[in-house]
């Protein structure tokens, strides 16, 4: 143990920087690959790729926070869709943008409250709870929209602002980065975030250390719900429409990215920057594959594989850590 500290530094650094290095290598690869070299590194592609990731980044943050306490939230994508649809229809009915944003966030909070109540007070398993609420939300969305996309009535000022560029990058991406920094701050700098880590590590011990587990888990679901709901606005801003089907598809990529974070930046722990890098990694991979002319189903392979590899790494790295004893 004692002599190992200097030696064990290198594998740690390798684990920490592996995914970021892969990301850079992959960008380089698609930039020189004949099929993609013209289009991949173009301003347009960078704009499209990053713009498409901004909502996913916020949704992944919403999935990451519960994951820190070993809670799974499978309703984040559906909640984002819920926020998008209700905000869009409010705007279509003439509500100001700020009211629409408030509607998306409040709906997210309501979902978070339901999830949090069922998990903490009723004691229902988080996977079951959130799969259930995700399905319920899909029903509510279908009811509200009659399964039709909302394409008109969305103010151009909103879509122009979010998909408009600042230094060649869509503003939505900056918003996502600001949210990411905020989540990093909450998780890493505040007592609240440290209690979450303790709850994830040993719930009973955390309770006896005064972590007030029930109250904190409720707050976790509320914040997760609010973030997911707010991500709905980014969905509208990026595409200019609100489709009733769009939300749920974000859940698995978001959770996959959060799981993959254990393999980057802070090996063995779910972390904010690792999640961001995992999303960029998957985004670049999908974009590169698309430009290379592969069939769309290849992207499914990439996302599904990433989820399995991420979960596998999470348990593998976790196991290594506990075997250091």
């Amino acid at each position: 143990m004692s002599s190992g500290t200097a030696k064990s530094r290198w594998p740690y650094l390798l684990e920490a920087s592996g995914l970021p290095i892969l990301l850079v290598l992959m960008c380089f690869f698609f930039s020189v690959l004949p099929e993609t070299s013209a289009s991949f590194a173009s301003i347009d592609n960078i704009r499209i790729t990053l713009g498409a990731q901004s909502a996913l980044i916020v949704i992944a943050m919403a999935a990451l926070i519960p994951l820190i306490c070993q809670e799974y939230d499978f309703s984040v994508g559906a909640t984002a869709g819920l926020g998008a649809v209700f905000a869009a229809s409010a705007m279509a009915a003439g509500a100001p943008i700020i009211v629409a944003i408030a509607i998306a966030i409040v709906l997210g909070l309501v979902v978070g409250l339901v999830n949090g109540f069922l998990v903490t007070t009723a004691g229902v398993n988080s996977v079951v709870t959130t799969l259930g609420t995700a399905t319920l939300i899909a029903g509510v969305v279908a009811l509200k929209t009659e399964s039709k996309s909302i394409v008109s009535g969305i103010p151009a000022s909103l879509t122009d602002f979010i998909s408009g560029e600042l230094f060649g990058i869509p503003r939505g991406f900056y918003i996502a980065i600001i949210v990411t920094v905020g989540v990093w701050y909450l998780l890493r700098q505040t007592p609240w975030g440290r209690y979450l880590s303790a709850i994830g590590d040993n719930r009973q011990a955390a309770r006896l250390l005064g972590a007030n587990v029930k109250r904190r888990l409720l707050s976790v679901y509320l914040i997760s719900g609010a973030l997911a709901g707010a991500a709905g606005i980014l969905l509208i801003g990026d595409t200019g429409t609100a489709s009733p089907q769009i939300g749920p598809g974000y859940t698995l990529p978001a959770i996959a990215a959060a799981f993959l974070s254990v393999a980057a930046v802070q090996p063995g722990r779910f972390n904010v920057w690792g999640t961001l890098i995992a999303i960029l990694f998957l985004g670049v991979l999908n974009s590169g594959l698309y430009l290379a002319g592969t069939n769309p189903y290849v992207n499914d392979f990439a996302n599904g594989g990433a989820l399995i590899i991420g979960v596998g790494l999470a348990s593998l790295l976790g196991r290594n850590r506990s075997q250091q004893a």
Partner: protein, 512 residues
């Protein structure tokens, strides 16, 4: 020690194992005879677990040989399958029985069901075989009973029976038990030890027994091998075995210099902690008062409410009625958070389950009592936290390279010191300790005792619930004995209490 004796069934020679640059074992030799209970003892980090893992074939040795059942093995390439074929059977510290399955299923789960022509289980003959096994191993229950409903000692017996059921009595097999008594209350320990002894003498079973509890060794061991710093420093015979001799062999220095003397009684002061007719969690009408600098002991059998009293004071179990007062003011205890804010600290009985944050660092484990202390200017003051943790590592004698080391890389004794330091460095008004030295070695035990006495000397009111009478006798001037949640007997010893005093009180109360 060159030739294996005639009765020797297992012989390990010159086992060497290093981790990185650290030598965990530097040439350990160990022989086990037929029909003998051979104890293996040593402090934390002395190499006990490493040796056991090598014997089980789960960890390859750097060098060393093993002779078992007339076959020689190089321990560099000994495997779990080879260990099994060689008749080595292991019962690990963590139970591996299935609590929600019946005894019968637990005993047959490795493929011991008798199978009919259609691939069906032939319940009749399976049941008869299981009944035979249960009789042989002294398991007095119905085969259909769920293992989770058995007492802990019986559960361990089921585990032993499962490990040994295929072996003929008197075969050359060796049963290795890794701290089987660590989680058992004292009465259950007696039962288990009795069964092991019967086993060794009647069935000539060779048993290798790893434990921290010296009194058990004195009671049952035929021979003892003592490990210290990766070497077998002594092999002691039954004659002349005593706790003092063992403790001295483990730590390698005379005992007198080792166990601190009880500190002098503080002058009587006003009570810090008062319980007034407290009810809750099975405890009934309990009234006690503890003064600053006093160490109050709570004795009682399992289920007497020993642990519950501490949980009530800590807010971890709901107080149904009655008052808990600190410095004369009633506390509203809804949650441990309230107790922590009032200056009450609690070290739970189940260290791994309820106290340790395993993958978090020592610094985190210390700070998580009150993370707000390190939240200044909207930032987490990591540097300050690390500096304080490094100081605590020094002050409380924790063996660790740095505050950033994860908790699960520490030995049990050092983990317990961290758990204790968590509270001690805050200078708590009240410190509640549940089995504070359970499953730690004598060295760490003496250190922990010293920490408790220091805390009392600095004015903390300490309450210790323990099944370890030596511990209570050593630390407490006053011991209350509980029975079925009520205060049975209060023992007051101005000149100190002895183990016998407490033991008699327990017996008297049981008889009453």
């Amino acid at each position: 020690m060159d030739e294996a004796g005639t009765g020797t069934v297992l012989w390990m020679t010159d086992v060497v194992k290093s981790f990185g640059g650290n030598r965990a074992l530097c040439g350990v030799s160990l022989g086990i005879n037929r029909g003998e209970i051979h104890a293996l003892i040593g402090g934390n980090g002395s190499g006990k677990s490493t040796l056991l893992k090598i014997l089980a074939g789960v960890l390859p040795a750097d060098s060393g040989s093993l002779k078992v059942q007339d076959r020689a093995w190089n321990l560099r390439d000994f495997t779990p399958e080879a260990a099994r074929e060689s008749g080595l059977r292991f019962v690990h510290q963590q139970p591996t029985v299935f609590p929600s399955l019946s005894i019968l299923d637990n005993l047959c789960i490795n493929g011991q069901y008798s199978i009919g022509l259609m691939g069906n289980i032939r319940w009749g003959s399976t049941r008869r075989r299981v009944l035979d096994t249960m009789e042989r191993f002294g398991i007095d229950a119905s085969p259909n009973q769920l293992v989770g409903q058995l007492s802990p000692a019986m559960r361990t017996m089921v585990e032993i029976a499962r490990a040994l059921q295929g072996q003929e009595p008197g075969s050359q097999s060796v049963l290795a038990l890794d701290e089987p008594t660590a989680a058992l209350p004292s009465r259950e320990v007696e039962m288990l030890l009795g069964m092991l002894q019967r086993f060794a003498s009647q069935d000539s079973q060779a048993i290798l027994f790893v434990t921290h509890r010296l009194e058990e060794i004195v009671q049952v061991a035929d021979r003892v091998t003592v490990l210290r710093d990766g070497m077998d420093v002594a092999t002691l015979n039954r004659e002349g075995l005593s706790k003092a001799v063992l403790a001295e062999a483990i730590v390698g220095r005379p005992l007198e210099a080792f166990f601190p003397e009880p500190v002098a009684q503080h002058p009587a002061s006003r009570p810090v902690l008062e319980l007034d007719c407290v009810n809750g969690g099975g405890v009934r009408d309990l009234s006690i008062a503890v003064e600053a600098g006093e160490v109050l002991g709570i004795a009682g059998h399992m289920g007497s409410g020993r642990s519950t009293v501490l949980k009530l004071i800590y807010g971890a179990t709901t107080v149904e009625s009655g008052r808990v007062c600190l410095d004369g003011r009633e506390l509203a205890l809804h949650d441990p958070e309230d107790a922590i804010q009032a200056g009450i600290g609690y070290v739970p009985e189940d260290r791994l389950g309820h106290a340790v944050l395993p993958t978090m660092s020592i610094a985190d484990n210390l700070a998580m009592v009150s993370p707000r202390d390190y939240w200044k200017g909207g930032r987490h003051q990591r540097k300050q936290e690390f500096a304080d943790a490094a100081a605590a590592i020094k002050t409380y004698g924790i063996k660790a390279d740095s505050p950033s080391v994860p908790m699960n890389s520490l030995s049990g004794g050092n983990q317990q010191k961290v758990v204790m330091a968590r509270w001690l460095r805050r200078g708590p008004r009240v410190l509640l300790l549940d089995e504070p030295t359970q499953a730690v070695d004598v060295g760490a035990r003496a250190d922990l005792w010293r920490l408790i006495q220091d805390a009392a000397a600095h004015g903390t009111a300490v309450v210790i619930a323990s099944s370890d009478l030596e511990e209570l006798a050593h630390l407490c001037e006053r011991v209350i004995v509980l029975k079925e949640g009520t205060l049975g007997i209060e023992l007051n010893g101005a000149s100190g209490l002895s183990e016998d005093d407490i033991s008699h009180a327990l017996h008297d109360l049981e008889a009453a």
